[in-house]
């Protein structure tokens, strides 16, 4: 049977993904991602992994509780999927490599892709900004990611190190090892520099990074919002 195909359209500041679903096929997407669709498709909210799985996702990763399953029960159809952020969309083909995803960067995937939660060790859990659990993506098929800002990729050679600010991280290959470290040598200069903690990666593997920092943007925005009272 044919599989679902994805195509990025309206590339630029606000791209969307066109998903073509063959008869009998389906995809899953982040809740709220559906922008438009042909009337022969069905949408269901599902709790992927059952209630416990969904609860653990929601409490522990801050992901939305529900995923959407969009299916074409009888005839082929098309849907346009949009992320909630301003920025880019990227498609990843998975085939034997695994990635870890930052919360909020998942947009959609073919049904053959598996999303699981993995617990991090304590230091990483607390200081990476991810919480105790990260999303592991494995299996085979197409994964669609969204980013805040544009997407850049870095391929690390074996043993090559690179430092990335936590909030700019989108995804990284599981062949990469990483540590959370302070940005600057002393405590006060770490926090005063606005950097606090960063991830130090060691290759081989690929890192996906977004060019805008959502936490910093939220901070900037809140300073410009009128205050009450």
């Amino acid at each position: 049977m044919e599989d679902v195909t994805f195509e990025i359209v309206e590339a630029g500041d606000a791209p969307v993904v066109r998903a073509r679903i063959p008869a009998g096929g389906s995809l899953f997407a982040d809740a709220g991602a559906m922008m438009t669709m042909t009337p022969n498709l069905t949408v269901e909210s599902s709790l992927r992994g059952g209630v416990v799985g969904a609860l653990s996702r929601s409490l522990l990763r801050g992901e939305t509780f529900f995923y959407l399953t969009i299916s074409a029960p009888q005839s082929a159809g098309e849907a346009l999927l949009a992320p909630s952020t301003i920025g880019g969309i990227e498609m990843l083909e998975l085939a034997g490599t695994e990635y870890f995803l930052q919360k909020g960067s998942f947009l959609a995937a073919q049904h053959s892709v598996q999303l699981t939660t993995k617990s991090q060790n304590l230091t990483k859990g607390l200081f990476s900004g991810e919480g105790f659990f990260v999303t592991r993506v494995s299996g085979s098929g197409t994964l669609v990611l969204n980013t805040f800002g544009a997407l850049m990729t870095f391929d690390l050679a074996p043993g090559q190190e690179y430092v990335v600010d936590n909030f700019h991280l989108v995804a990284w290959e599981s062949t990469i090892s990483y540590k959370i470290t302070k940005a600057a040598a002393g405590w006060i200069s770490s926090f005063a520099s606005g950097e606090g903690f960063v991830c130090r990666f060691t290759g081989p593997g690929r890192i996906y990074v977004q060019t805008r920092n959502p936490a910093a943007f939220a901070g900037w925005l809140s300073r410009h919002l009128p205050s009450k009272g």
Binding site: S56, L59, L60, G62, S119, T175, F191, P204
Partner: protein, 369 residues
């Protein structure tokens, strides 16, 4: 035809792709998707362990392979290859397999504790807790949660510091804590675990859940292991009385603690506060209680309670100007010393058992000595 597995191929030019690997009679045959097959004889293989949780084996065939790597993660593949290799490569692969199994067991336990801690807090009606007084949060925080907070504070305090893991100083500190921990009565389940850190600071801190951090400056200043035991007995009482937890929650507010556990919240601020636990000034009542119960603990552990005020006097005599941190965060030192002498005189040691530690050797081993 040998065994075959799926793996990941990193070409010398960069980028990863899936590949099929076959374990032939004398060599590894790698077939990357869309590329020519590569053959690496087993005796020529080199290995490194790395990747997420150090659960990946990276194979190469130097010098010809350059930056190319075969990345293996499948446990069956790793075991099968280990059986066909020898020396360093064999050791790496069998070590990885053993480490992965230990790690999986620990992860299951950690996941259970983590989920339990989170569920206990969430189920407790967390919208109430976010507005509740710190005292309620402290009372409702399950031991697992307290332990997590302590581990977080410890991890944060250890970042960028050099831990002293082996040698006479580390062994001495562990022996002292073990002696004291064994003498604790009514322990609600804390596991006292001590880390020694290289630092000029004359200080020690006991964190929620039972983690204790000792700075090597404290050992350098102490005249005997009993004096260090005195300081640690006092710190252990702060843990048993949950003073550190109260202090941390009081500073952060209940909602920040919950945010910390659920992943999110103003982590920079939380981390900063947690890391200052060694600078936390407890109230006078808390200090008096820790002194009183610390003296009792020392006596039960067969150690001289007078070692604690003796240490304070030594520090006071030496510091003409500023007091070392341990004393400067503790109010009314002179009055405390008098009171500690009084308590020590009134607390006989039923079964004196001096610590068998060569203190000169310990001090000689300290960095900067």
């Amino acid at each position: 035809m040998g065994d075959s597995f799926q793996a990941v191929w990193f070409a010398a030019a960069g980028g990863s792709r899936p590949c099929r690997v076959e374990l032939g009679a004398g060599s590894l045959v790698i077939e990357p998707a869309g590329d020519a097959a590569v053959r690496w004889p087993y005796p020529a293989l080199a290995s490194e362990i790395g990747g997420d949780d150090r659960e990946w084996a990276f194979l190469s065939c130097p010098p010809a392979s350059g930056n190319a790597r075969l990345a293996l993660h499948d446990p069956a593949a790793i075991l099968a290859l280990a059986a066909r290799t020898s020396g360093h490569v064999h050791d790496d692969l069998t070590g990885l397999d053993a480490a992965r199994r230990r790690h999986a067991a620990r992860h299951r336990r950690g996941l259970t504790t983590g989920l339990f801690a989170v569920a206990a807090v969430a189920v407790g009606g967390w919208f109430l807790l976010t507005r509740a007084a710190p005292e309620i949060v402290v009372a409702m925080l399950p031991p697992a949660g307290e332990k997590l907070l302590g581990e977080a504070a410890l991890a944060q305090m250890l970042l960028g510091e050099t831990a002293i893991e082996a040698g006479p100083a580390a062994e001495a500190v562990r022996a002292i804590v073990a002696r004291l921990a064994a003498a604790v009565t009514d322990n609600p389940g804390y596991e006292f675990d001590v880390r020694l850190v290289e630092s000029a600071a004359v200080n020690a801190a006991a964190l929620p859940g039972g983690k204790i951090i000792v700075f090597s400056g404290l050992l350098a200043e102490a005249g005997s292991p009993a004096e260090v035991a005195g300081v640690l007995a006092h710190e252990i009482q702060h843990v048993l009385h949950r003073d550190a937890l109260r202090g941390l929650v009081g500073r952060l507010g209940g909602s920040a603690v919950i945010a910390l556990m659920l992943g999110g919240g103003d982590l920079a601020r939380i981390a900063g506060q947690a890391g200052e636990l060694d600078q936390l000034a407890y109230g006078r009542d808390q200090e008096r209680a820790a002194d009183r119960d610390g003296v009792l603990l020392l006596a039960r552990a067969g150690l001289p309670p007078a070692a604690l005020p003796a240490f304070f006097e030594r520090l006071q005599a030496q510091e003409a100007g500023g007091l070392p941190e341990f004393l400067s965060t503790h109010p009314d030192t002179a009055a405390r010393i008098v009171e500690l002498h009084r308590l020590s005189a009134a607390t006989p040691v039923a079964d004196p058992r001096p610590l068998a530690i060569d203190w000169e050797a310990v001090r000689a081993s300290l960095p900067g000595h």
